[in-house]
């Protein structure tokens, strides 16, 4: 796994990797199959991309899609699996969701319907497709350390390290890397961002933080598990007229890549996921399962490290979001 | 016949500044329908509220079946068998007849409500006591007004314990054909020995249904009539009015010119029908009529607050299509509404803003109010109208009733209106302000405006107007010039008494305008 990760470089390589996979899987088909696709919500870019990727791929492979949306309510999302069960679909792709879905997965499994998950490891699922969170955590750690010259003070938004496993991995490994930099200090207490209305909340918290740490006493602000709060962090830095602080975060959606691409942006490093490819890969995995292939419990989809404005522009284009000047 | 069922003697009740009841008495016997009449403010409703336990009397005694009632509270009065049929129906629109009859006095068995038993009781009551088939499962909102009135009566009497029933204007909301149904029910109750007090402004009905009548004036019973016939109306009115016109009203300087506003065949299909009227330039036209006569609705329709079903309104030969007040204002027709606080005055705004409300366009440029011009104009009008305080920044809410009314009038003076529709222009206004408002109206007419005054005060109509239209049950019953017209005659016409007695017999032939 690590070997693959290291071999993958930025940009073009990623897309060719996808094309290559698709060609190699030319024999796969979901003809005559009804596939349930459940997503926790479609309001967020990531969720929507994964959902769309899964649906498009199922349809491309000749399958019929039964789609359900939880409207960002984990319980509704869980209930939707019952609908798919009553509908007697042939397989279920379930995107995100909290532990409320576990009993539903079990019921599906008991009814002989295989479950494939996205970003939600479960003992009842055949396979979970996810980004390589280990690589994301270590890469952003190295990039950030480099950006501040290996020494300085860092504030971190870290509300979810204990609550969500993927955040535990990402932030944990970021800290693991920093433990080799004795000159870097993580400011205590750590900040906790809100999930709803994250940019505005982070903006306010950052303004407070900056008044507490005047020029020269803080070097970086990192968002541990995603990048929506980083939008507010960058805003706050601009409002306060501070150019001495760099910002790093994870996920690399189009909105944050745009911010990174601006000239003189304090947002210097990110690791972009490929949510559409993740959804699509999960759908491919369903087809592989029906073709009799044995799947590993986890499929890791490549991520795209983004270091600086130029790489942000390149990633933006290569991930299919358009072109940035 | 035994002694009186109810006897109220020498009841005195004062409110701050007012002696509402000044030694009033009334006595009612078994099986008697006893009329209680008097002008507005004579003390009828106060005495009823004393009986109901709403107000405590300062002195006087109340006895029921010869026993003094001491602690008069609503609950005690109810337990003693005294029931009130309020003018308002107080019914829940989506309740069934049975549910409404038993509201607050439901019959419950061991397992929840005894719906069947209640329905049977209600059906029996309507059949046997009121002698009517009504359909106890129907919803109140599907009933006619008369049927609702009967439901209200049934609610008061269903427990079979009523000794005395007080009716407050029971026919006010009813159409002519419906009254007989309610009267029939009342007569059935009389036959069963129930004593009744019947409060009403409709003298024709009083003389039709009542056995005896007590007349109130200025908080006292001034006359009791033991034998009632159609001829009694004249005497009753004399006892009610008992006064002459004072020097409240201005000298007339206006003179009627060419027609300004003409209404032909106006109906709203519900509250008034086939109304014709012509208003001339420089004329003050009065509209009289009791509450429920359609007077208020007619006035609202003239102003565009209500929709007419048929008929035309023409303004100086220009057909008017009124669907909202703004249309009327644009054509120079303005209304000074009866409820100043609700419709006329923006209470939270100051005097200047209120005065300029209707003429904002003139004092604004490109949508911006020109404060200087607005203030100047407000100050001029405050001076002209003698509004007090003279401060244009005083908040509307803090003004007295008379001054509020002047502000509302002032607003319309600020635009050059041709037709003024004044609905109860002096309601709740003290005498001093009344005189000023009357003078203002006179001045407007002298300048050539046409003015419609709708009022429940017969003295005001006679003192102010050139001509009066009398409405009754949705129609204009009389049209009469005010020269030589007495209050008695006008009251007789508005109460319907004139249609029975000779008091208004020549009214129709009196000259118009």
């Amino acid at each position: 796994m690590w070997g693959i990760v290291k071999a993958v470089a930025v940009g073009t390589l990623v897309s060719t990797a996808f094309v290559a996979t698709a060609q190699a899987d030319g024999h796969l088909s979901l003809e005559g199959k009804r596939i349930g696709v459940a997503v926790v919500g479609t309001q967020h870019f990531w969720d929507r991309e994964a959902f769309t990727g899964a649906i498009e791929t199922v349809e491309k492979l000749g399958g019929e899609v039964v789609q359900v949306d939880g409207g960002r309510d984990n319980q509704v999302h869980a209930d939707n699996h019952d609908v798919l069960l009553a509908n007697e679909v042939d397989a279920v792709i379930s995107i995100l969701g909290d532990a409320a879905v576990e009993p539903k997965f079990e019921a599906l499994k008991n009814a002989g319907i295989p479950v494939f998950t996205v970003d939600h490891p479960s003992p009842h699922a055949i396979n979970n497709t996810t980004s390589d969170n280990y690589y994301m955590g270590t890469t952003i750690g190295r990039y950030m350390a480099d950006a501040i010259g290996g020494s300085g003070k860092v504030a971190v938004f870290n509300a979810f390290e204990g609550a969500l496993r993927i955040c535990g991995i990402r932030t944990g490994l970021w800290k693991y890397v920093l433990s080799d930099y004795p000159e870097i200090e993580i400011l205590q207490p750590e900040l906790a961002e809100e999930f709803a209305n994250a940019p505005e909340d982070a903006r306010k918290q950052t303004l407070d933080l900056l008044s507490q740490y005047p020029e020269g006493t803080i070097d970086a602000i990192h968002v541990g598990c995603w990048d929506q709060p980083a939008i507010g962090v960058v805003q706050a830095l601009e409002e306060a007229g501070r150019t001495d602080v760099v910002v790093t975060a994870l996920d690399g959606g189009p909105d944050t890549l745009e911010i990174m691409a601006e000239e003189g942006s304090p947002f210097v490093a990110n690791v972009a996921q490929q949510p559409r490819l993740i959804g699509s890969t999960s759908a491919m995995n369903v087809a592989r399962h029906f073709a009799g292939e044995t799947l590993l419990p986890q499929t890791y989809v490549d991520v795209v490290p983004v270091n600086g404005a130029e790489e942000a522009k390149a990633a933006y284009q290569n991930l299919g979001y358009g072109t940035l000047e | 016949m035994a002694g009186p069922v109810l006897q109220m003697r020498d009841i005195v009740k004062t409110f701050p500044g007012v002696r509402a009841l000044d030694g009033a008495s009334i006595s009612v016997s078994e099986g008697e329908i006893h009329g209680l009449v008097g002008e507005n403010g004579a003390g009828k409703s106060t005495v009823i509220k004393v009986l109901a336990g709403v107000y405590g009397a300062d002195s006087g005694s109340v006895t029921l079946d010869g026993q003094p009632l001491t602690a008069i509270t609503p609950a005690n009065v109810h337990d003693a068998g005294i029931r009130f049929i309020h003018q308002d129906l107080h019914l829940v629109p989506h309740f069934t007849v049975t549910e409404s009859v038993f509201m607050g006095q439901e019959v419950a068995g061991r397992f929840g409500l005894s719906k069947r038993q209640m329905r049977n009781m209600a059906e029996r009551f309507f059949r046997e006591v009121l002698d009517i088939e009504i359909g106890c499962g129907r919803l109140i909102r599907d009933l006619t007004t008369a049927e609702r009135k009967l439901v209200q009566i049934a609610r008061a009497l269903i427990d079979d314990k009523a000794r005395l029933v007080v009716f407050d204007e029971p026919t006010a909301p009813l159409a002519i054909g419906e009254i007989e149904k309610v009267f029939a029910a009342i007569r059935r109750l009389k036959a069963q020995g129930i004593a009744m007090i019947y409060v009403s402004h409709y003298l024709s009905e009083i003389t039709e249904i009542c056995d005896r009548v007590t007349v109130f004036r200025n908080g006292k019973d001034v006359a009791v009539f033991d034998k009632i016939s159609d001829d009694s109306a004249e005497d009753i009115i004399k006892a009610m009015v008992g006064r002459e016109l004072g020097q409240l009203y201005p000298n007339r300087t206006h003179a009627a010119g060419e027609p300004l506003l003409s209404v032909r065949g106006l109906s709203d299909g519900n509250r008034f029908f086939d109304v014709d009227l012509t208003l001339r330039r420089g004329e003050i036209l009065g509209i009289a009529g009791l509450i429920g006569s359609g007077r208020e609705e007619l006035v609202d329709t003239l102003y565009g607050l209500r929709k007419a079903k048929s008929g035309t309104i023409e303004l100086a030969d220009l057909p008017l299509k009124l669907s909202k007040p703004a249309d009327a204002v644009g054509k120079g027709v303005v209304l000074v509404p009866r409820d100043r606080r609700g419709d006329g005055l923006v209470l939270a705004m100051n005097v200047m803003e209120n005065i300029n409300l209707a003429s904002l366009e003139e004092v604004s440029k490109l949508g911006w109010e020109m404060r200087g011009a607005a203030r100047k104009r407000a100050e001029k009008l405050i001076g002209d109208l003698d509004i007090r305080p003279t401060n244009p920044d005083a908040i509307g809410q803090t003004l007295s009733g008379g001054n509020q009314q002047k502000v509302v009038l002032g607003r319309w003076l600020a635009i050059d209106a041709r037709v003024f529709i004044l609905d109860e222009p002096t309601a709740g206004v003290d005498v001093g302000a009344k005189v000023e408002i009357y003078q203002l109206i006179e001045d407007l007419a002298a300048k050539g405006a046409g003015i419609v005054v709708s009022s429940s005060d017969p003295g005001e109509l006679i003192g102010l107007c050139d001509r009066i239209l009398v409405m009754m049950r949705g129609r204009i019953n009389h049209e009469i010039g005010t020269q030589g017209l007495s209050i008695d005659q006008l009251v007789a016409m508005t109460t319907g008494a004139a249609d029975f007695s000779t008091a208004g017999g020549t009214a129709r032939s009196a000259h118009a305008g």
């Binding site: 319980q75 509908n87 | 829940v92 929840g112």
Partner: protein, 328 residues
């Protein structure tokens, strides 16, 4: 003589037709779905509809009582938007106490019950004593209660595996899912209490016409106050079904519950012959909305369109209800 009384048109009764339209639309819609979605008109899907509507049904019981006591004017009448928040708070308290503090379920439930009572009494106090409008009061309460829950659960999901909760989730009583059977009993109790007792009828009278109730010797504020307490109690009851449904308490569940509750309750009025909010109407509304949602999902309707279709349909039904009321 003018006939000022509205006469009933003979033959075709437009008002009646418009009045029946909401029911007709829903029935037609469900039949359409039945033909187009596999397995929709089967006993297992019907059970699914019932199961999934249970939390909404139970909060609807509470809301309908408040609407009946306060009158069905959405702005100035009775409404309690805080019921879903109360349900979520109680679920949060129970999950936190049972799973994290390792208290017995009974104790945790008592704690939640106390919290619900406080919310209900506070609502009632603010509306009847301070004179705030129910809409504003309960909306503010909704926000506050969700805030309290966020503090208690630290905005995290908390699993729960108490036997009672698992029983509600997985077991069956006389052929019905246990949650459905128990909710059915609750509905019967509420319908009886509100529609078949003196107290319930008086409560409806208060909402129907405050003056009429006062004239009949009823105290409107008394009924309004208790309606809020009952609504909060319904929230407390709903929390068990919320926990069973999600196998624990998840943050963010209150919004959807709120939306569906308000929709179902006022939709229910369209189904009632008197065009007023009733307990059973609200329950029926909740079940039908759930049926529609599940129907669309089963048909594989594009998720980006479901909200629009569902919303328009409900708008049409409610508008027809209002139209038939205006036609009187």
């Amino acid at each position: 003589m003018p006939d000022s009384v509205a006469t009933r048109p003979g033959g075709f009764d437009l008002r009646r037709a418009v009045g029946m339209a909401p029911v007709a639309i829903f029935v037609a819609m469900l039949i359409y779905i039945g033909f187009n979605a596999p397995n929709f008109l089967t006993w297992s899907t019907i059970q699914l509809v019932l199961s999934q509507s249970v939390p909404v049904v139970v909060v609807c019981l509470g809301l309908s009582v408040v609407v009946m006591a306060g009158g069905d004017d959405v702005v100035s009448g009775g409404i309690d938007l805080s019921v879903p928040a109360t349900a979520i708070l109680c679920a949060g308290i129970i999950a936190q106490q049972v799973t994290l503090a390792e208290q017995p379920l009974f104790l945790a439930a008592m704690l939640a019950f106390g919290a619900a009572l406080i919310v209900g009494a506070l609502n009632g106090f603010l509306v009847t004593r301070i004179g705030m409008t129910p809409l504003l009061t309960s909306l503010a309460m909704f926000v506050a209660v969700v805030g309290v829950n966020n503090v208690i659960t630290a905005s995290r999901r908390i699993d729960i595996d108490a036997p009672l909760i698992l029983f509600l989730r997985d077991d069956r009583i006389v052929g019905l899912p246990a949650g459905v059977a128990i909710a059915l009993v609750l509905c019967v109790v509420f319908v009886f209490a509100i529609h078949h007792t003196k107290w319930g009828l008086n409560l409806q009278a208060v909402g129907g016409s405050r003056e009429a109730a006062e004239v009949s010797g009823l105290r409107p504020s008394h009924f309004l106050f208790w309606s809020f307490v009952i609504a909060a109690f319904a929230g407390f009851l709903a929390s068990f079904f919320v926990l069973a449904r999600g196998s624990g308490s998840s943050p963010g569940t209150e919004d959807n519950l709120l939306l569906e509750m308000v929709l179902a309750t006022f939709l229910g009025a369209s189904f009632s012959p008197r065009r007023v909010v009733t307990v059973w109407g609200a329950v029926l509304g909740a079940v039908l909305v759930a049926a529609l949602s599940i129907g669309f999902k089963s048909m594989g309707v594009n998720v980006f369109w479901t909200g629009l279709i569902k919303g328009s349909l409900i708008l049409i039904v409610v508008a027809l209800g209002a139209a038939s009321q205006r036609m009187r």
